[in-house]
Amino acid sequence: MSKDWRERILDMNTQPSDELWGRISSELDKEAQLVALKQQNLRYKWMAIAASVALLISVSVNFVANIPGISREELISIVQFEPESISAQTDSKISIMTNSTTISEDIPTSPIAQNNAIGNKTPVSLEAAALAVSSPPVTDTNAAYKAALDDIRILDSKRNIQVTSIGKPTIVHTPMHGIDYIISTPKHAAQTQILWAGADMAANVVDPNMEYAPQATLAMAATPRIGAFGRPNDNIKGEAVTLNINDRFIPEMSLSGGIYFGIKLNDKLGLRSGVQFGTNQASGISNATLYNFAEDKNYPAHTTTYNEERNSNSYLMLTEDYRIINKQQFVSIPFLLSVKIFDFNKLDISFVGGASTDFIIKNEITSDRDDVNSLKFGIGEDTHYRPLLVNATAGLEVAYELAKNYRMVMMPMFRSSLSSVTRENASFSGAPIGLGMNVGVQYYF
């Protein structure tokens, strides 16, 4: 084919009708309007979606209805005792290295002391009928000596001696005063006893015949005794720990913060959601008692057998008080409805209520003592803890317009978990209740 005819065709120029440009121009105007409208709609849409964007930093005090996430059984495993350092031991003397000093004790060789070394801590003065019952410590001792032994647990107690008379079934309760130290480590123990009858002994003798009272008095006279014993390593066969914690933890103030996005439904109603990171925190005072058994046993805490046997066949160590802190960290996604109640010039007050889902991301128990280890509990199917809590939330938002598009927001809020932090099969439960003050700056379009 020749190029000529083709080029002539391609170069053909046909003038369009005069009104064509008018139609195109009009169409372009419509297109431009449509684009503008779309952009405007998009802007309105974003304005609607982001009717309020608030960055809120909240300070909240969480009142915990029950101890969240703590059971005695599980707490036991957090108690770890630092072993004392035995610097030297001979047949007759034991030296125990503490942080501040070295304590040397003679190891007694008397039959009575050897007997005690097995674990019998019954007061020796009334061996036939006495049963020792611990009571809270009342007797102060040499402060310097206590300080030196600070790193070794000291049991400092007064014992009430219960006397059962022989021959007649008359029971005489005679308070017994004295000092009874058991200095005990997982491997060694030393005991010092000085007991004497109290002045009120005579008054408390209720045996009408007074037949056995003199015997008791004589026994008291024979009581004073100072001794110490070393405990051979192989006598410790089992151990158990019990914890003495306050029944209820004390709620503590914790910080939480988050970002909220809101949609304005109309002049009065709004929806908002977002993400908030927060903590439920509570603390309690605790101490622990470690029982070392002379027999080959390993008791779980708080079993009947253990409770029966621990008084007659064990050494015990009492730790000093320490503070246990339970922290539950969560990521919360709230769904809230706001209803404007008052609309003043620059001041708005709204009711805010709804629900929030808390995803528990960490459950941690720590102590302020170095020798008590921290423990982190897992969250999930294989633990007692629920991974998700649903909270009911209500609050009052007071917003003040600081500048164009900026508002200062204060919002006291109450939140209560609708379920326990633990599952149904757990031996403990607790539903955190929080009262907080949210303070933040809100930017709105």
């Binding site: 084919m1 020749s2 046909t14 064509l20 440009w21 297109e31």
Partner: protein
């Protein structure tokens, strides 16, 4: 014809005066293109109107790999083909294998443009489209096959058929002229 960058930039920004200038520069040529596909002038103007809306709307995507005119011409052809697509369905194109394209002489040079267009317009719909795309616009058979969703063989055979029909028309036209003389 070249178009200044300033004019293109102004058109991209929606400057109506610049758009009008661009329209005036190319509307005549592009209407001729549209007319070859649409047969009826009014339909060709509709295609041109739609094409210019597209051109101004898509000017941002114009890359200077080809000339602006080539780019705009392509838009017009595609717009026209979109309008023709429903008609193409009515004229299914079959592979014609018994026509040998190379043995058909095509003597159009001695004819005027209007005479050529009249002859082309008289072609059956499928042949006319392929002839326009291949012989005039310069598309390859592969491109045409893609544009019209047909086989490459169909494009070739339709072109051969168009050329055969055109040649017959040219001969008839020449006879008619001689008879008149």
């Amino acid at each position: 014809m070249s178009t200044s960058q300033d004019l293109i930039s102004a058109c991209k920004k929606g400057d109506r005066k610049a758009q009008h200038t661009l329209y005036k520069m190319y509307a005549g040529k592009l209407l001729s293109v549209a007319w070859r596909y649409m047969k009826v002038r009014q339909e060709a103007e509709d295609v041109l109107q739609e094409s210019f809306i597209k051109i101004f709307g898509k000017l941002d995507t114009f890359k200077e790999e080809s000339s602006l005119e080539t780019w705009m011409r392509r838009i017009v052809v595609n717009t026209a083909l979109n309008h023709q697509r429903s008609k193409l369905y009515m004229y299914p194109m079959f592979d014609i294998t018994d026509i040998d394209d190379h043995h058909i002489p095509l003597a159009l040079d001695h004819l005027a443009e209007n005479e050529i267009l009249d002859l082309v317009n008289d072609l059956p719909e499928g042949c006319r489209l392929i002839f326009n795309l291949y012989a005039i616009e310069g598309y390859k058979h592969k491109e045409i096959a893609d544009m019209l969703s047909i086989n490459e063989g169909t494009s070739k055979s339709q072109l051969a058929r168009a050329k055969k029909l055109l040649q017959e028309s040219i001969i008839a036209l020449d006879r008619h002229r001689k008879y008149k003389q």
